[in-house]
């Protein structure tokens, strides 16, 4: 089965009448993975969809305007056997009068529709029609739905302390409770900020997944389709009423441009984009007040491009006359460039194509990656930071009577969970900086701190890192010297079984023991 694009004949006729003269409702254009049919009156009577969509694997609808009432379209699409959240809608005004451009936009919409992985019941939120009387409300026949994110419990790491989505939500719609993370649909005004804040892709908006964006952007930049010349990718807000027809620029619609991390703004350059622009809702700026965040991320992207010897003009907040596309380098483009954990890979791949020594070290609030600093004198190597790190950038690596904490910069998203969980923050044990450093991103996992591990006197099993035991001794003080010795000498299991009487801590320790050095057996 192939994909199908149903285009409103009236909309096409308005901009390119000669192109569809004499065309019937049968296939008008053939795409690589589907075909396009022009349907008279599609915008006025969505019921015709059921007549045409039979047998198609995926559906794209091209309307004269994207402002049509959604409910009849969604109901018809459901009747035709499709999930409305997986049906792409193209605004024909965006295509302008260029058939080649229209074909490219259709191909990209088909690619995005084919990457739809299905939705869950929790992904549809009902919105009431604009005008409805009290009485009619109780007879409501047709409802409109918008896509909202849902939580994938099997991926969520909230039990490890992560609250990235809760903190990112500007509406307070996400909460953590005993049962895990939950989203209140009544409060959610789908902006997508939680989806990109989540470091493990556990918050899923099925209409804007990394796979869908990747498919759409790759297709829009595929030189074998569409008009010749440089192309730009324009991230536009779903709320925006702007219709962009600037030559060479192709819109990619997202719920809110504030959700796009800097790596999204840079990734299309790896696929051959001449430039990337990000445009908020409208002239009044972002409705969610994310203008500052967008500006920060654009600023970071420009600094990075400058550092690697590319024109910083390639990332901007408004479309402009496009420069020639940069010459592709020899580096391999990483896969899943829009996935949360891909930011580091995007930056390094871009640097490999740069012309200016390939190095950069930028500390900036718009950086999508971070650098964890651990101060050896203050860290007790307890491993809490590694246990809570959602992306496993920090890892606890035991072995050979010692334990290390390692850091892999390319995995770090600067979420800050390690700092939240560290019990030694007041002593300055750990800090995260929004720093993108080429060297750190490229070197893989490296040891930050380590410690020898005390072994159980009875069974030989590891007890705890020596640095941690020393810190415990320091907190307990010299009065608890025998208790300290017990803790360092026996593992938890052996203490549960019972210990020799001679090793039991005294009920009261003489003050004269104060200051005695701790002897730790390894």
């Amino acid at each position: 089965m192939s994909a199908l694009v149903l285009a409103c004949a009236d909309g096409i006729r308005r901009v390119m009448p000669e192109e569809i003269e004499g065309v019937t409702a049968e296939a008008w254009l053939w795409l690589r993975t589907g075909d396009v049919r022009v349907v008279p009156g599609l915008c006025g009577d969505p019921d015709v969809i059921t007549r045409h969509a039979d047998g198609a694997s995926n559906l794209v609808l091209a309307f004269c305007s994207a402002d049509l009432p959604r409910s009849p379209v969604q109901a018809t699409v459901r009747r035709a056997g499709f999930d409305p959240l997986g049906v792409e809608v193209v605004d024909l005004r965006v295509a302008g009068e260029d058939l080649e451009r229209l074909i490219l936009i259709f191909e990209a919409a088909v690619a995005r529709a084919r990457s739809f992985a299905g939705s869950a019941p929790e992904n549809a939120r009902m919105v009431l029609p604009k005008a409805v009387t009290r009485r009619a409300l109780l007879r409501l026949r047709i409802a409109e739905y918008v896509a909202i994110p849902s939580i994938e419990p099997s991926r969520c790491v909230a039990d490890r302390g992560c609250r990235a989505c809760v903190e990112a939500c500007p509406r307070g719609a996400i909460a953590f409770s005993h049962a895990g993370i939950s989203i209140d649909p009544a409060r959610c005004d789908p902006c997508g900020l939680c989806t990109t804040a989540c470091p493990v892709e556990a918050v899923v908006d099925p209409t804007v997944t990394p796979a869908q964006l990747d498919a759409q952007v790759r297709t829009l930049l595929d030189p074998s389709i569409g008009p010749r010349g440089p192309r730009g990718i324009l991230f536009t807000c779903r709320r925006s009423r702007l219709v962009e027809k600037t030559t060479g620029w192709y819109p990619v619609v997202v719920p809110c441009t504030g959700m796009a991390p800097a790596s999204w703004l840079l990734a299309p350059l790896l696929y051959g984009a001449a430039a990337v622009a990000v445009r908020p809702c409208g002239d009044g700026g972002c409705q969610l007040g994310r203008d500052d965040v967008v500006r920060e991320r654009v600023a970071f992207s420009r600094l990075l491009l400058d550092a690697i010897g590319w024109s910083e003009e390639r990332v901007t907040t408004a479309p402009f006359g496009l420069p020639a596309a940069p010459v592709p380098g020899r580096s391999v483009t990483p896969s899943d460039v829009f996935a949360p954990g891909a930011a580091g890979h995007v930056l390094t791949a871009l640097a490999e194509r740069g012309t200016d020594g390939h190095a950069f070290a930028l500390e900036h609030p718009g950086s999508p990656v971070g650098l964890v600093d651990i101060r050896a004198g203050a860290c007790t190597v307890c491993g809490m930071c590694a246990r809570t790190c959602p992306t496993e950038a920090l890892a606890f690596a035991p072995g050979g009577g010692a334990v290390d904490i390692t850091f892999d910069g390319v995995r770090c998203t600067a979420c800050g969970q390690c700092v939240v969980s560290c019990p030694e923050v007041p002593r300055g044990a750990i800090a995260v900086r929004r720093l993108a450093d080429r060297v750190v991103l490229s070197r893989g996992a490296t040891r930050l701190v380590g410690s020898d591990v005390a072994s159980c006197r009875r069974c030989g099993q590891p007890v705890a890192p020596l640095t941690m035991l020393r810190r415990v001794a320091e907190i307990l003080g010299p009065e608890e010297r025998r208790m300290t010795r017990l803790l360092e000498s026996y593992c938890l299991d052996c203490r549960a079984i019972g210990i020799p009487v001679s090793d039991e801590p005294a009920a009261a320790t003489r003050r004269s023991d104060a200051g005695a050095a701790i002897t730790i057996r390894t």
Partner: protein, 237 residues
Amino acid sequence: MTARPSQIGLARLRQGLYRFIAAGLMPPDQERVAALASAIKVIDASTIDGFAFATWWRPLGAVLDGAPSVGDLEADYVRLFEAGVNKPPCPLVESAYLSLPRGPGALLVDVDREYRRFGLAVNPLVSLPADHAVLELEAMAALCAREDEAADRGDVDEARHVLGEEERFLERHLARWFPVMARRGAMVGGGGFYGTLLTAARAFVHHDRDLVATLAKHHGLTRDRGLVRDCGLQAVR
């Protein structure tokens, strides 16, 4: 004269769906399976396509068209809802999904009190606990029927009042645990009748909570999260 399916009111449609799910979660027998197979045809022909949960209801028709054998259904029913090493994979009672430090007593009393508020009482001949899914679904169906009758009479205030009761019951009980049970059951039940029914039921209950909350908000009714907040009970995964 009977109404055509397309003319069925929203509350009447919801009542039918609640009753369908309740019947589907009763122990299977030949007569009930036949009744469900004919009911799904009526549902398919109704205005269901206008609602998001329709996506998950469509496969039910195909499953019931395949005429599943009662023997197989019985085996699945026992495996999913009644038997297990410690307990079945997805028991059909609310108390199995809440953290209840003092046992299910307070919960059962609260559910029973809710039924009485609505003027309902559990038939003593029915050997099901008050917090059983079938009874909670039937209670919602009864409320929907009452809302529909009020709307038919043009008594908007009564319909609003019943809507508030529906929201209260969903928030306090059914919507809090049923989707969790249904998700778990669908995973264990796979593509069979119960897996498909539970997926559809989860979509519907989730949607109904959303719908009722939206309508109640429009009518200016306040939200009552109820027992879970009052008694410190917490839903479990």
